[in-house]
């Protein structure tokens, strides 16, 4: 089966071709045009701009798929949750293709698509030819040509992105149960807003991760200096984060449910910046007062630690309770190297018999290959949507 995926939920315009053979899903083409550069000056996605950009970009991407139209078996489109103005662009294109090319249509959930990214084989995707015309193309070769491991059910998936933070229990294909979610801000949103407070760029996750790397290497240098290590003596934690003056709370770390809360963490960062600079109203004025760059890196490190620690700890606890056989990550924040590493270490230490599955970095953030992958499983279950009945739902919940 050859599936055409279309994804325009937020600020990425993407189309992909995924081939299924004997249950294996291989990406033949995956073109992602990101608007991150456009939106970074606003510190986030501007819906009207996003929609206009989708319209501008999607046709040049569609041209790349014209030669495949005869081979395509089904069209799969993400129709929610997301920004309504953005979703509509993908939906209209999918509807038109379905009608004109006479292809069956599948309407998939965007969050579910993120989860199904875990079923994509690790393989170098077809390089996009018009790389120079598109803002960002995922054609990065992947040295690993091995197939993914077998995902056994029940599986637990931590879906973390700018708009979602959910722990989803997957009992089988198409059987999803949300067992925990954020009560306020999503983890990615927390990264974005903390980055904004620290005067770092958008998107906040990569910006904070980059600063955290600087803090880590600074620390290593300091520790290799005999004078410093003598003063800091008995501290053995990687960065001594629990002992240093940058310490931030781990919200809801010890609650018995599987929910998260990141809004308070953002406020704690504000207070910390205020304490460090002595300036009254934080977000705007504290930065003008000048936060030393070393302090900023250390704070970024601590923010990343706090977020990832809570995510890992709750996932492990939920995995134990539901006795899952596989733990998966999904969503843009699952591209965070520290999170991937920490989760792996925790599983190895606490649940050595549980499998650990993470999507390729290029399939963590929004892309249409995952939409196509989800489309395959919907098609297998016979869940088609006639083009006349395709509707977008910006609040599509899995409950």
């Amino acid at each position: 089966m050859l599936i055409l995926g279309i994804e325009t939920s937020c600020d990425e315009t993407s189309m992909a071709l995924v081939r299924e053979e004997e249950g294996k899903l291989e990406v033949e083409k995956n073109i992602v045009s990101s608007q991150i550069k456009i939106h970074s000056k606003y510190g986030g996605v501007v819906p009207e701009v996003a929609a206009r950009k989708h319209v501008e970009t999607i046709f040049s991407i569609l041209e790349e798929f014209m030669e495949d139209r005869k081979k395509i078996d089904v069209v799969s489109v993400a129709s929610g949750p997301g920004l309504i103005t953005s979703l509509l662009v993908g939906a209209e294109v999918a509807r038109t293709i379905s009608y004109v090319w006479e292809k069956p249509l599948i309407s998939v959930n965007h969050v579910v698509s993120h989860i199904y990214a875990n079923w994509l084989e690790k393989k170098t995707p077809f390089p996009a030819r018009h790389a120079s015309q598109l803002a960002d193309v995922t054609g990065r070769p992947n040295p690993s040509r091995e197939g993914r491991g077998i995902i056994e059910f029940p599986a637990l998936c931590l879906v973390v992105s700018g708009g979602h933070t959910e722990l989803i229990l997957m009992n089988n294909f198409g059987k999803f149960e949300v067992i925990g979610r954020t009560l306020d801000d999503a983890a990615g949103e927390c990264f974005d807003k903390c980055a904004k407070i620290l005067g770092l760029g958008y998107p906040g996750g990569p910006a904070i991760a980059a600063e955290a790397v600087i803090a880590r290497s600074d620390r290593k240098e300091r520790r290799s200096n005999p004078l410093v290590s003598e003063i800091e003596g008995d501290c053995h934690a990687p960065l001594c984060s629990t002992r240093n003056d940058m310490h931030l709370p781990r919200p809801m770390l010890n609650t018995s449910d599987f929910n998260f809360s990141f809004s308070g963490l953002k406020t704690a960062v504000l207070y910390k910046v205020r304490d460090l600079t002595g300036v009254g109203s934080p977000a705007s004025k504290a930065l003008e007062a000048g936060l030393p760059t070393v302090t900023r890196s250390r704070l970024a490190f601590e923010i990343e630690e706090a977020i990832t620690e809570v995510l890992v700890s709750k996932t492990i606890r939920a995995a134990k309770k539901y006795k899952v056989k596989t733990i998966m990550l999904a969503g843009g924040v699952s591209a965070n190297k520290n999170l991937r590493k920490k989760m792996g270490e925790a599983i190895k230490a606490e649940l050595p018999n549980t499998k650990y599955q993470i999507p390729d970095i290029q399939y963590c953030t929004d892309n249409a290959a995952m939409t196509a992958a989800a489309g395959f499983f919907y098609a297998k279950a016979g869940k088609f949507t006639p083009w006349q009945k395709l509707r977008v739902d910006p609040n599509w919940s899995l409950d």
Binding site: G43, E48, S281
Partner: protein
Amino acid sequence: MGIVIKILIMHFISKNEKETLAFAEKFAKKLKGGEVIGLTGDLGAGKTVFVKGLAKGLGIKENIQSPTFLLMKIYGAKAQTQRRKISKSADAKAQKIKFLAHIDAYRLKSGEDLIDIGVMDWLGKKDAITVIEWIENVPGIFDEKKIINIKIDFGEEKEKRSIKIF
């Protein structure tokens, strides 16, 4: 458009998040339906906390998440299942209010952006309360005179907030 001069109706000093929640809950009971509330305040000031209190006061049991990503969330509105979540114990006045439209203009830069996502369907609806966070980002599409403005500022001490209604 002329300049609209507004008079301070209420000034409340909140000692902490709990007090803000309680204040918003009490404030909700005074609403009749159809009000449009504009919330202003820096990141971390507690705008979403205020909306959580407001929702509780309106008898909405559902948890209020940050609407930053989706821009607009409707509570107690979508389907029968959600309508059931409005508790029976909420007072009669609140019962008349069936929906809470929670909007976040943090990522927006003009009023048109809001129109595009369908805000006008909810604005001024008699059985709905519309709350807009970061209303200063979307000028020009509301009738200033009809908006209840709420400004939350940081106080001298960490947890303290000044809440002004005008």
